[in-house]
Symmetry: none
Subunit: 260 residues, 2 copies
């Protein structure tokens, strides 16, 4: 949108990376527009859409954006959540209800502190938001390293999509870059990309299928999810992913395979 390119020029915290906001299967264009507005209120401008119900672009989104059109115009559309997060080093999933999944659960405020550490290293990261009615599927949540849950009135927790985005983005904006970083556990190593992890999972699960481990078939999805969750939680480096490729290849006795 002409004339608004400098919208973020005066945002105090332009140093380092900023979170991408990823809406998975958003239903209402109005909510996408209100999301763009809430993002720009908090200095965020990278919007990703996974299979928006009413297609894209959507005129209703622009009507609700109240001037945040540049966020909508730069939005990218993806066919799957996996594709939408493939290039991100770290992903948070927002959920309204507890999942039977082993993941750290953070408040938006605590998550913002973690994000600042990643932003300070200029790494790419993003936050997943689910569809209006149902929220994120478990398959989407498992892609995330941690879950964000907004502390709200337990008797009335249903938050509008754009309101949820606003609260998380607001805490990001309020958090100070000078907060003491948590101890650097990666010691200079490059964190694995989501795509590198996906390749590891692909080979591991293929070998486990061959070995007959992922059975019965109806339990395969949950077994796969639990397994991926372990490795996602570990925050693997590129080198560690290579090591694990070697471990899987070595154990399964298929030395000739050439992953990654």
């Amino acid at each position: 949108m002409a004339g608004t390119d400098s919208t973020l020029d005066t945002v105090p915290e332009t140093a380092g990376s900023r979170p991408a906001v990823i809406l998975v299967e958003p239903q209402l264009g109005e909510n996408i527009g209100a999301t763009a507005r809430a993002m720009l209120n908090c200095g965020l401008d990278e919007l990703r859409l996974v299979r928006p119900r009413d297609g894209w672009p959507n005129p209703n989104a622009h009507a609700a954006a109240s001037g945040a059109d540049r966020v909508l115009e730069a939005a990218r559309v993806f066919d799957s959540t996996e594709a939408a997060v493939a290039d991100l080093r770290r992903v948070w999933a927002t959920t309204a209800r507890r999942r039977d999944m082993v993941k750290p659960v953070l408040t938006p405020r605590a998550a913002a502190q973690e994000m600042r550490e990643i932003a300070a290293r200029n790494e790419s990261f993003g936050i997943l938001f689910g569809p209006e009615r149902t929220g994120l599927s478990n398959d989407d949540v498992v892609l995330a390293g941690a879950v964000i849950e907004v502390p709200l009135n337990p008797s009335f927790r249903s938050l509008n999509l754009a309101q949820a985005v606003l609260l998380v983005a607001y805490e990001w904006f309020q958090s100070t870059p000078q907060a003491p970083p948590r101890e650097e556990i990666l010691a200079g190593a490059r964190p694995a990309t989501t795509e590198e992890l996906a390749t590891l999972f692909h080979y591991l699960e293929q070998d486990l299928d061959t070995a007959g481990f992922l059975r019965p078939i109806e339990k395969r999805p949950i077994m796969v999810r639990n397994l991926r969750n372990i490795f996602l939680r570990a925050g693997l480096t590129e080198t560690e992913v290579k090591t694990l490729h070697g471990v899987v290849r070595s154990l399964s006795g298929r030395r000739n395979r050439q992953p990654s």
Copy 2:
């Protein structure tokens, strides 16, 4: 609304008074409904309306309230801002722009701290929000003891009315002394013991030795350490350790082995 009277019963912070939300000359019913929803999300239920443009009640408000109808039904309508705040001991005014007025200007977070002190004394208090386009008039702001200004992207500060209410109400709700801090949720699972981890490492490394992976021998200690580090960092549960035993056993094709 029948059956929802207990909505606030389980709100953790029912002790003491809570802020009334006062919308001055709100224009859109949708925004009044979304305000009610945001209020109830944060445990607030006292809504006051000063000269709502489209009269009251307003069906559009109910459509946007998503179940927070009891807040709308209990809303009281006033002819003037003075009348709406007459019984309140202390009033905050939300503004998007600075006024030529000597008043303390607080962030929502700082204001919430002040409100907690008043709530602890069980005194009545409220927060003023202005009309969608223009915000509060100076005559309204002057009724308040202090001003609340939300820190936002200075190049894009225009916040939807219900979004403004949400942010202020959210900070109120987060300021509860007993607000849940960051939690590490294991979804009821028991963390693995050091011994269980040691057994897992023992079998994994034994199989990798057999497969010839941990070579050359002089590099074995560091390879073992790096591998263990991955799993130690993941914070495994007892169940996950069992799963990984299964994975290793399955990949290495030794089904007859009986670990732990």
